[in-house]
């Protein structure tokens, strides 16, 4: 498996300097991942299964998972979260492809555009969510501009774009934030390999669409897929943006998980953790599904 973030790098791998040296080099990293991440995840599962010695929860049971999954609101929240994560990913990826092609064709002199393009990467989600709120709220900047132009008479005429049923504010926030992420991943690949093949394509008289479909797309596909998966995973499990810009009800799964977790009713905590585990499982399932689909597509020659 190629790592999602090194696609396009041509590994100059060689036979190792011996198992001991390699193990030593990898040991600290694996220790952190296995103990802190693996441990945290495992302890989460243990607690979600109701095992909590010292708190009167000494029995293993699936009751917490059952309560979460059988809650009439669960399906609602799950679908909402899936929709928001899916829409954000698809829109961001869709815009990123032309953006990456555009950036790739810019000369090196356009470093300012590059720099500006990278700025959203440094902006925390929380900040952009607040800015989006300022702009898109029913009495926000956009609504004021529309009022000034005489298109609407009062904030009530302005379409609801935040705290709305369709999560438009949330999706826009994610799209703004994730386009540079995906684009720069694609750009790294395009810089490496794109040019020569496109020249070949041109000499073979392939038209623009053909060059895109049969040369560019296959080249960027692995990076696009990896970046999209990371974006999907992030947006499916993130709390801040839907908390600030989401509807009162239904809420997304991460908001639900934290609400339960921080409830002063102790019995709600394992349910919060169980919801967290469900989120993790969904994300993992999405990644595995993507791998399987990619393999199948590759076998049938649909992608390179």
């Amino acid at each position: 498996m190629t790592s999602p973030l090194t696609t396009g790098a041509d590994a100059r791998t060689r036979k190792g300097p011996g198992g001991v040296a390699l193990s030593l080099a990898l040991l600290p990293a694996l220790a952190v991942v296995l103990i802190l991440f693996g441990g945290g995840f495992a302890l989460g599962i243990v607690q979600a299964l109701g095992y909590l010695p010292g708190a009167g929860l000494g029995e293993w049971s699936l009751a917490h998972f059952a309560r979460v999954l059988s809650d009439p609101d669960f399906l609602h929240s799950f679908l909402l979260t899936l929709y928001i994560a899916g829409a954000s990913t698809v829109i961001a990826a869709g815009i990123s492809i032309p953006a990456a092609l555009g950036l790739a064709s810019l000369s090196k002199r356009s470093r300012v555009i590059h720099f500006i393009f990278q700025m959203p990467l440094t902006v925390p989600h929380l900040v952009i969510a607040i800015a989006v709120m300022f702009m898109l709220a029913p009495a926000g900047l956009l609504s004021r501009a529309a009022t000034g132009a005489g298109w609407i008479a009062s904030p009530a005429d302005f379409p609801l774009l935040i705290n709305d049923a369709w999560g438009i504010g949330i999706i826009l926030t994610y799209v703004w934030k994730e386009i540079p992420f995906i684009t720069l991943m694609l750009l790294a690949v395009l810089r490496h390999t794109g040019r020569d093949l496109l020249d070949v394509g041109r000499t073979l008289k392939a038209d623009a669409w053909q060059r895109f479909r049969y040369i560019t797309l296959p080249i960027i596909f692995p990076a696009l897929g990896a970046a999209s998966l990371i974006v999907f995973a992030y947006t499916f499990g993130a709390f801040e943006v839907p908390f600030l810009l989401g509807q009162t009800y239904p809420m997304t799964l991460p908001v639900w998980a934290y609400k339960h977790y921080s409830d002063i009713d102790l019995m709600a905590r394992p349910e919060g953790i169980a919801t967290g585990i469900v989120i993790a499982l969904v994300v993992m399932a999405a990644v595995i599904l993507a791998q399987v689909l990619t393999k199948a597509a590759r076998k049938r020659g649909l992608i390179a």
Binding site: V33, M119, L121, V123, I230
Partner: protein, 264 residues
Amino acid sequence: MKKSSRRFFGSIVGATVGLPFLSLVLWSFAERWFYPALWPQAWGLRAWRYITSTAGFQVMTAIGHSVVVAAVTAAIAVVIAVPAGRALGQYDFKGKDLVSVLLTLPIIVPPLCVAMGLHLWFIRLGLAETYAGVIGVHLTFCLPYAIFVLWGVFANYNPDFEDQARSLGASRAVVMARVMLPMILPGISVAALFAFLLSWSQYLSTLIIGGGRVTTLPVLLFALMGSGDRPVAAAVSLVFVAPAFIALLFSARHLGNRSLAGVR
């Protein structure tokens, strides 16, 4: 790209990126700004005075906490990621795929789950509400990102120079410091910047493990946001963006033409 289309492309990018910041700057200096005014009706420094004097201590403390957490997380992540990245980028070995999967998991599993799982045990170990605890949680997802960056760097790294230096009699340490380090320095900057930014913008896992004691900027911003005092929220938001932005400016020098591919 033609000059005109470059202008067009540039202005779309500029406007999309700039507008949100513009709204934050305007609000932070607005003294009175009622609907439907498109422009603040009165300007003032109330919000900036509030966050520099009244809440000044809190904001400074929060900046301090955020910087310590993010910088230490980034430093540890890089120190651990360099040998791991070199092993993964330079050599083929049994179990490499498994390592790759193990490193991918923390990137896709939300920190929320890990933090909730670790919380109770961190309290028992005395790690809850400490820098150590918060940094520990942040490392779970910052470290894999740093490793993937350095993996990519070492995949393109040619160790022949090291052999040459060694044949000229340089010691192991000298080879590391004088040959390897300068060559991978841009990669290290990117990895450190990644880890720094990821940790910097983390909210929920910090809140759960830091428990209101390690109040980083996002935790403070959330508490102040509850007030809906828009000028104050805007001013704190700008303070929140500034250090990360400065970090980007600084590393932009190191990065050269390299982009921040992979940062989120």
